[in-house]
């Protein structure tokens, strides 16, 4: 399965009174990891929401290969192999980890109401095959021990990993990660970064990653796009971006002179949630 290019062209999103994204363009080359950074409210999550069909673009286009994503409903986008995680976790707390991951297999499975209701052999077979696949992904992400537990009982850091695992269950060609290490402690953070790095190495996919932490982005990303107040400041390699004067001014603020990799201006704590948007 080939991985096409993701091209965002002139993307503008307006809400009543607010321009969340203003004529933003960038390209994600196949099988690269592209980071999108920017202070709080820069429009990063909005961008993901357009890419995954949750928000409609006011103007502009997003193409993934031949498909124009701005015209498709979310489930059609998912069926192209676009998977995402959410900044503020979107798991089913009452379902087990295993069931949450099984939902990631939805697009790759068939069982409908009738076949499931009649307990047809095909439904059972599929269920078993998916359980194996889920176990495999869980092992990969290191959450096997949590499979039988309801997600609501798991600590925050583990739930973040469950969400990553669920997205991987889709066998994505494009993986959108919205602040995957936000709110994690040091150890959890390192483990997550290591996992993302491994996914990137081993799997056939492109990744778009939203993150605040410059040091982390520098370690993972091939390219970085910087957003500020809905506009794209620049795109380049991590090193280039870090040296860019606009970025230093807008994103890193005054502390930039002291240590460019230090905590950014808006090191929020997303565990509390910060916006009503998904």
């Amino acid at each position: 399965m080939s991985v096409p290019e993701l091209a965002v062209r002139g993307l503008t999103v307006r809400f009543a009174g607010i321009t969340a994204l203003d004529d933003v363009s960038f390209t994600v080359a196949p099988k690269t990891l592209h980071a999108v950074i920017g202070p709080n409210g820069a429009g990063k999550s909005t961008c993901f929401n357009v890419l995954s069909g949750v928000y409609r673009a006011t103007e502009g286009s997003v193409t993934f290969g031949d498909a124009e994503l701005t015209k498709l409903p979310p489930h059609k986008i998912a069926s192209l192999g676009v998977a995402r995680t959410f900044q503020n976790l979107a798991l089913s707390d009452y379902l087990t980890t295993a069931a949450n991951l099984q939902l990631g297999r939805h697009r790759l499975t068939r069982t409908g109401f009738v076949t499931a209701g009649l307990h047809l052999p095909s439904a059972r077979r599929e269920e078993r095959a998916q359980a194996d696949k889920v176990r495999e992904v869980a092992e990969y992400v290191g959450i096997t021990e949590h499979l039988p537990l309801p997600v609501g009982l798991l600590p925050y850091g583990v739930r973040k990993r469950v969400e990553l695992a669920r997205a991987l269950c889709l066998e994505p060609r494009l993986l959108l990660l919205d602040e995957p290490v936000a709110g994690m402690n040091g150890g959890e953070r390192r483990a997550m970064v290591e996992t993302i790095g491994r996914v990137r190495e081993v799997m056939d996919l492109s990744i778009v990653l939203v993150e605040h932490d410059m040091a982390l982005v520098g370690r993972l990303a091939d390219e970085v796009t910087v957003l500020d107040f809905g506009r794209r400041l620049t795109t380049g390699t991590p090193a280039e971006v870090r040296r860019h004067p606009d970025v230093i001014r807008a994103y890193l603020g005054k502390s930039a002179e002291e240590d460019p990799a230090a905590a950014p201006r808006t090191n929020d704590t997303p565990a509390q949630g910060q916006g009503e948007n998904p």
């Binding site: 697009r107 949590h146 039988p148 996992t195």
Partner: protein, 371 residues
Amino acid sequence: MSRKLLWVGAAVLLVLPPFYLDAFWLQSGLFAMSAAIGAIGLNVLTGAAGQLSLGHAFFLALGAYGYIWLAGGDERTAGIELTGLGLPTLLAAVLAVLLAGLVGGLFAPLAGRLRGASLGIATLALVFLGQHVLFRAEGVTGGANGRDVPPLNVFGLEFADSPEPVLVLGIPFNGLEKLWFLGLVLLAGAAWFARGVLASRPGRALNTIRDHEIAAGALGVPVARTRAAAFVLSSMYAGLAGVLFALIYRRTVPDTFGLALSLDYLAMIVIGGLGTVGGAVLGAVFVSMLQPLLTRYADGIPFVAASGSAGPSPAEAARIIYGVVFVAVLLFLPTGLAGGLSRLTSRLRRRRPGTTPNPPASNPSREESTA
């Protein structure tokens, strides 16, 4: 092992009533079965998918009157010209269920797009519309006086009283006795089907739509279509419950299918436990057996009036009691009676040594950095 034993025990218990209980209890039990079927359907929609429906009574009416009209013949009673297609009754029963599903499907554009409480309001309109039509369409429903229900006939086996009933183990098997077994079979089938749905791919999709609609879409679930499918399925369950209801009471009046019935069904699934088959059945049995129990034992219960004297009638008392239970469950048993029961049994099992241990306790340690 002990689980299997439990099922066998339950099956035996359920087969016995026709041999020991009188018509009153058989009818009450059958009513509970019909309610359980309807409640399972509502629980797929409201419990599993989080879509509130106040229109369940409407679809029950569709099943009941659909059957009556499809199976009944043209006749004239009490000055009302009744019409009917006179189809074979088994076919009529099947078609009545399909009819409920079809009308549920016509409602799909709304059932798919509206979420949660807004769907509740839209379906409320259905109940009122339904009541209006039922009273007006006298030719089909018999109007306010109702209409007799043609007895079901399955390949020569008629579910009706006869002058010379068959004796089974010395007990005369009349309509209710026979219907009892039909009810059991239908309920078992309905429960089995719903369990299959809820425990696999479509059920998980419904749960995720309930818990996080946007995530469901992003994972590839066609949200509107899946919701609409749940609505259709729930309508068909209501239709089946309606057919059985009509067969049990042999006469149906439009008054039955008002908002109060819809609310009864909501009470059943909340009291029994949202989102599970067991919860729906438990809640249905609880809510629908309350009134007959109070009726039979009114004299022995302090505040319930026996017929004729002052105080709340058994029907009113039943409503009061289950209203109180409803609130108590909301406050103290978020998973309903079924959830409370399963917690209780698992606790008992844990106490008893030598039995299979439960899954790990519910305080997973914080995952450490090495992964």
